[in-house]
Assembly symmetry: C2
Homo-oligomer: 321 residues x 2
């Protein structure tokens, strides 16, 4: 461990070690897992019949970074989606000669078997305004709700030290935004402004009467935490007045449990249809060097509880210890 | 008139002609008026014993643009405030060699007579984060409420074609921001995105139980209109969740009345303590050339009505026809 203060607890044994930005999909009778790998050089995929099976499922590299140019550096946060009969992977990537020139890109599977069929590069999602994907942008997620497909992503604004915001647009299809962007959230509270002013890593969750977007905030050390936006399910999600933002984090470091900087999560259902969350955290806080290149952001899994129609995220509901 | 379609109506006779971004202050027993002049080269001030007296009060130039460097071009939207025993003017200015390098600046009066005492340049308001006044920024207003002083201004973000947002910060004193910026509003609706994506020209208004900020939206032609934010008076105004934005404009072009692109307003009270609004509009919509250099944005005045605790802005309440 790259740290002086790692303490093993009942909670901080990883579900899958050294996989950050974990994304789990339960599609048909199978579970799929992808994530950022520490070398940031490839996209990997696992498949299993059970959620727990992902833990030791073989990991297949389905795409490797280019030698130069776009998609050649910082391969981050892939998500796999099955949309309108096809498999898609959304991911972010920089350039070897300009490593912070991060943009979101898409892969499309040429068949129905995402582990074994070839993946084709489909370029960027096409946008509908001059403000989208023009600066450092990443963490694209897509979701269907109320009969429409939506895209949410993080993008930085301002000059010099920048601010990472989250934007939403309705999609015409999985490769095309139908509407201009709408700003969903910008860091407004101290817990979103530690080190850097960051909102990133959006994850969609549908509840009984409401829809939710969690996001991750602050720099990627122990201050990293998760915030929550919600809207009524029957609201127009492209009307910003439909969205409400909690003024406090909903999930954060717990020193007693030895879990630091939790975030960049995804939601899925288990075999019984129960809502679960995959997220990453570190089992220590004293990071040697740049937190971005510390490999020990591990994947953890917990049950999502519900109270008064709102999701409850609590380390006590952690699985697979 | 620079137009083919000017029609005189009962409503479009100016209160004061060719003065845009009108700012009226009722302080003590006097009324003060300042505004942008068509040449954008100076700051002017009028004083009168009555509101109507401003109409024909002599206009004094109290400051002139520099020959070069900062504060040498596009002298825009001055506001005069009497704060903590001193007179201040907040205004925006560009540079002759870089005319869009617009930033907010401050003048402080060295005495108690703002028309006759000398004004000193006090530089910029000092900010408390690395994101403030780093890009095209203007339309600074200040207000005191609940025992605190606040600053609201417009600033652009993004690259290439930019987006103008409104930000708020609490102030330590009239020359110093105490807190980092908080984003108040960004253009999210079609009525804020005509031509350019713009929120600008904030104006503060205190009601019975609520406080309000109006702002102007879209490009400065006939689509220019006003939106509204409100918060409960006892809320923490530096918590973004306290602010609510209406999803429709509250004041806009009325062709039948011959008033186009109303906005960039200010609120004040008349001799009887009734709330009034000064705003600019054009008496025609077919502008020849760049709307920014069309001189006929005139100052109009109306009574503000109240309904269910919210301000009502209606041309029927126009004064001084």
């Amino acid at each position: 461990m790259n740290s002086s203060n790692y303490v093993s607890t009942a909670w901080n044994t990883p579900f899958i070690a050294q996989r950050a930005d974990p994304y789990i999909l339960h599609e048909g009778d199978s579970f799929y897992f992808t994530a950022s790998v520490p070398a940031y050089d490839r996209i990997v995929l696992r498949k299993a019949d059970t959620l727990e099976g992902l833990r030791n499922a073989p990991e297949k590299e389905i795409w490797h970074r280019h030698a130069s140019g776009v998609m050649s550096w910082h391969i981050w946060a892939p998500e796999i989606h099955y949309l309108q009969g096809k498999w898609y992977i959304y991911f972010a990537a920089g350039e070897r000669d300009d490593v912070w020139e991060i943009r979101p890109w898409v892969l499309v599977c040429e068949g129905q078997d995402p582990l074994n069929d070839p993946w084709r590069e489909a370029g960027k999602v096409q946008c509908a305004d001059p403000f989208t994907f023009v600066d450092f942008s990443l963490d694209m997620t897509v979701f269907e709700t109320g009969g429409s497909l939506y895209c949410v992503w993080a993008e930085k604004v301002s000059v010099g030290k920048k601010i990472s915001n989250l934007y939403i647009a309705r999609m015409k299809d999985p490769l095309t935004l139908e509407t201009p962007q709408m700003l969903l959230t910008t860091p407004s509270y101290a817990w979103e402004r530690h080190g850097f002013w960051v909102n990133e890593g959006p994850a969609f969750l549908e509840g009984e009467d409401r829809v939710f977007l969690t996001f991750s905030a602050s720099d990627t050390g122990p201050a990293y935490c998760m915030g929550l936006l919600w809207a009524e399910k029957d609201a127009d999600l492209m009307d910003i007045s439909a969205w409400h933002k909690l003024n406090h984090p909903v999930f954060q470091t717990d020193e007693a449990k030895g879990l630091y900087g939790p975030g960049h999560n995804s939601f899925f259902t288990d075999e019984e249809g129960k809502t679960c969350m995959a997220y990453h955290a570190r089992p220590y806080d004293e990071i040697l060097g740049d937190p971005l290149y510390d490999p020990n952001r591990h994947c953890y899994i917990m049950d999502v509880q519900w109270k008064d129609g709102m999701p409850v995220l609590d380390y006590m509901n952690q699985r697979f210890q």
